[in-house]
């Protein structure tokens, strides 16, 4: 039997705890739970943003999965970018970080040179790449041509558009390079010395000393990279627009994902449906697909990553 005084004390404690938690609770409620519940709610509604929403059941879901011609190409592209672009960014970022930590002279220059592109605004950087990689007039193809090498269509060719976007992402590798450099410089030197004394070569030192020490950073880079790539919007949109040369006007429709839907990503579809076609319900379905995909990828990576971390401990 709990006394009335004890009950009152517990209630006071509960109120106090909630009061201390309230900034977090309010933040999560307003910026996460409310939008999430709204998104689920609107995914079952016909809503154009102007007239009151009406219940449509699974119609939006059926439309997106079976009738919306851009959904599956966008999903395939997003998965391609998650697998290829994120992997290459992590490998390239780690590689550059390793190289720069080994450089004896001019390390500051190289650090700056590799970090600066990351600071370039995405639109400007993409436009610059579209200019450099223009298949007709771009300097890259001019050089390739003068060397007798094949000249790809880059952003104008569906086979090359995603590799071209990957090149753009690798050019702006500065963020990962800095993180990897910091973690590499943090690896205890004694461990390298001990490994060397045991006869370990460069690869073995990397595999059994460097990698275990920086594995949490690798996992962080992969998880944040996946989430960022799920939200990949500006660069493919600008690249497609610049390369197609079509900005869209009356009777002149801008083609999403030029060329041949190869640069379409899911966030572009959220905008396309929600803000251009007034189909908030369809846009919410795609937003939820993105949310679920990000959750699944993150959970998978965290699960695999925890094993990776554990085996390297």
């Amino acid at each position: 039997m709990v006394s009335a005084g004890l009950r009152q004390k517990r209630r006071r404690e509960a109120v106090r705890n909630v009061a201390f938690l309230s900034p977090w609770l309010i933040g999560v409620s307003v910026f996460f739970l409310y939008p999430l519940i709204s998104t689920v709610y609107f995914s079952f509604m016909r809503y154009d943003g102007f007239t009151p929403p009406t219940w449509t059941g699974l119609k939006n879901w059926q439309y997106v999965f079976t009738d919306y011609p851009f959904f599956w190409p966008a999903l395939r592209n997003t998965l391609w970018l998650v697998v290829v672009m994120v992997s290459l960014r992590v490998v390239f970022g780690l590689g550059i970080g390793l190289l720069i930590t080994k450089v004896k002279t001019g390390a500051g220059f190289f650090r700056t040179a590799f970090y600066l592109p990351y600071l370039a605004p995405p639109v400007a950087a993409t436009m610059a790449f579209a200019f450099l990689l223009n298949p007709g007039t771009g300097p890259v193809n001019n050089i390739l041509g003068s060397l007798g090498l094949p000249q790809p269509g880059w952003f104008n060719d569906p086979q090359w558009s995603k590799p071209a976007l990957t090149m753009l992402a690798l050019w702006g590798i500065g963020d990962l390079m800095v993180i990897f450099m910091a973690s590499l410089l943090d690896v205890p030197k004694e461990q390298y010395e001990a490994a060397s004394l045991d006869g370990a070569g460069p690869w073995q030192r990397f595999r059994f000393v460097t990698l275990p020490n920086i594995s949490p950073i690798v996992l962080f880079a992969v998880v944040t990279g996946v989430i960022q790539t799920m939200q990949y919007y500006t660069q493919p949109l600008v690249a497609g627009k610049v390369a197609s040369g079509v900005i869209g006007g009356s009777g002149q429709q801008f083609e999403p994902g030029y060329p041949d839907k190869s640069t379409l990503t899911l966030p572009q579809l959220v905008y396309h449906l929600g803000f251009q076609r007034f189909d908030t319900g369809g846009a919410c379905v795609i937003a939820l697909v993105l949310f679920v995909l990000a959750m699944v990828f993150t959970a998978f990576l965290m699960r695999r990553g925890s094993g990776f971390l554990a085996t390297n401990d």
Binding site: L33, Y34, I37, S38, Y41, F42, R46, Y47, D48, G49, F50, T51, P52, P53, K59, N60, Y63, D67, Y68, P69, N134, P135, G136, T137, G153, N156, A243, S244, G245, V246, I247, G249, S250, G251, Q252, Q253, E255, P256, Y258, D260, F275, Q276, R277, F278, D279, G282
Partner: protein, 442 residues
């Protein structure tokens, strides 16, 4: 209270909150007094200095006529911004809105985001048939609901390089598509695996060389009477795509033309391929005259109506029409004052003519088209004639904007590149896709 019940109640409360927080357009009655001192906000899309100066002069003239109505002008606004602003409403939302594209008229009218203009037109005694050409009346309403009016007009025709024509021994612009194809080949000069001059860029990414602009020469019906897509049933589309694909092949093939297209400069800049002489002929709107002049083009420019199919030679002179539209936000609390501005900009002959002359657009009223104050340039007069041709046509308004045009264009890309070879089957699939997209917004 059981935990489940509490959770259910909380979820319901949040869902209700979500519903309550959604913007809805409750159109206010136009009860404001337009004779009192008032400031209205006008959004438009013009951004070039000359165009902005022209619209500002137009507004200044309006304010001189209506000293009690002050206009706050906001430029460089596109349709995406318009939609968001009208969804959000509020004190900073526009009262009067203009858009460069007619594609969203269906959405604007159907969703009541723009006010119904009929009561205003009736009040002011504006007779639409005596004021605007038929095609312009059509593209500013949707299913009988008039929520916008035309604010200037765009007509598409054939631009040609007179010097290139002379060098190739061509004396007159082509009138039929078979003449056009022959001229395009004659004007094409191959250089290595590319061109030093292309007669015409037929590829659907070739700026204004779009499916809808070409299709207008066949006067197609995009939809059946009950609103279903009509691409496979109307032979116009198959004929247009067959003609275009044939021209692509005759001029060197899709891949070669695409590679050449990649060398083109910006459509709206000085390096437009027609300005630079990379193409000798182009389909384009009347604005190109002013742009070519500003770009300092060295050769003589000729303008003619775009050629028509050989079996429709008697309809030569027609072309694709489009234009800027203007409407009143249904959320505006100053609709009567806003109407005064809309009425002035769309129906006052002097206002329409001076604005059309200033930005090199075709005027949108019947009186303005006949005005002696209109630009006397012969090339420009060609566009005036295209705009008034009884067979000139436009793309119809649709509840999901230009989605059907995008779907047709998408098929055009697949067909011109050879990715799809079954024309009838492809058009049937395109019909199905358009119908599915329409069903989604109904």
């Amino acid at each position: 209270m059981p935990r489940f019940t509490r959770a259910l109640l909380a979820t319901s409360a949040v869902a209700l909150l979500a519903t309550a927080c959604t913007g809805t357009s409750n159109a206010p009655q136009a009860s404001d007094d337009a004779t009192k001192d008032v400031t209205i906000t006008f959004w438009h899309g013009w951004s070039a200095p000359g165009e902005v100066a022209a619209i500002n002069a137009n507004i200044k003239a309006f304010e001189a006529k209506h000293p009690n109505i002050h206009v706050k002008v906001v430029g460089n606004i596109n349709d995406d911004k318009i939609k968001q602003a009208l969804r959000a409403g509020g004190a900073n939302a526009p009262d009067v809105v203009s858009s460069f594209t007619t594609d969203n008229v269906g959405t604007f009218c159907q969703s009541n985001v723009f006010a119904d203009l009929k009561p205003f037109l009736d009040k002011s005694g504006v007779d639409l048939d005596k004021t605007f050409p038929k095609a312009l009346q059509d593209y500013t309403q949707f299913e009988g609901k008039r929520c916008t009016l035309p604010l200037l007009n765009d007509a598409y025709g054939l631009y040609y390089n007179k010097d290139a024509f002379k060098a190739a021994g061509i004396t007159t612009p082509p009138k039929t598509l078979s003449e056009f194809d022959a001229d395009a080949k004659l004007l094409t000069k191959v250089k290595g695996d590319s061109y030093s001059q292309l007669g015409f860029m037929p590829n659907f990414h070739g700026y204004e060389s779009t499916t809808t602009h070409f299709a207008a020469q066949w006067n197609p019906a995009y939809f059946t009477a009950d609103g279903k897509s009509n691409l496979v049933a109307d032979p116009a589309f198959a004929k247009m795509l067959t003609w275009q694909k044939n021209l692509v092949t005759e001029l060197g093939g899709f891949a070669k033309l695409e590679k050449y297209r990649a060398t083109f400069g910006d459509e709206w800049g000085a390096k437009n391929p027609f300005h630079t002489g990379q193409v000798a002929m182009a389909i384009d709107g009347e604005w190109r005259l002013g742009m070519a002049k500003d770009a300092g083009v060295k050769f003589d420019i000729g303008v003619a109506p775009f050629p028509v199919p050989d079996d429709q030679a008697d309809s030569y002179g027609k072309g694709y029409l489009s234009g800027t539209i203007i409407g009143i936000a249904s959320t505006s609390q100053k609709q009567n004052a806003a109407w005064e501005l809309v009425k002035y900009m769309t129906t006052d002959t002097d206002a329409v003519v001076s604005f059309a002359n200033a930005i090199h657009n075709v005027p949108s009223t019947l009186d303005a088209l006949k005005s002696p104050k209109l630009d006397a340039d012969l090339n420009f007069r060609t566009f005036l004639e295209i705009a008034q041709h009884p067979k000139s046509s436009t793309t119809p308004a649709s509840p999901n904007g230009g989605a059907y045009q995008l779907t047709l264009q998408d098929f055009g890309f697949a067909y011109e590149s050879g990715k799809v070879t079954d024309l009838a089957g492809g058009l049937a699939k395109t019909d199905q896709q358009i119908d599915k997209d329409l069903a989604q917004v109904k």
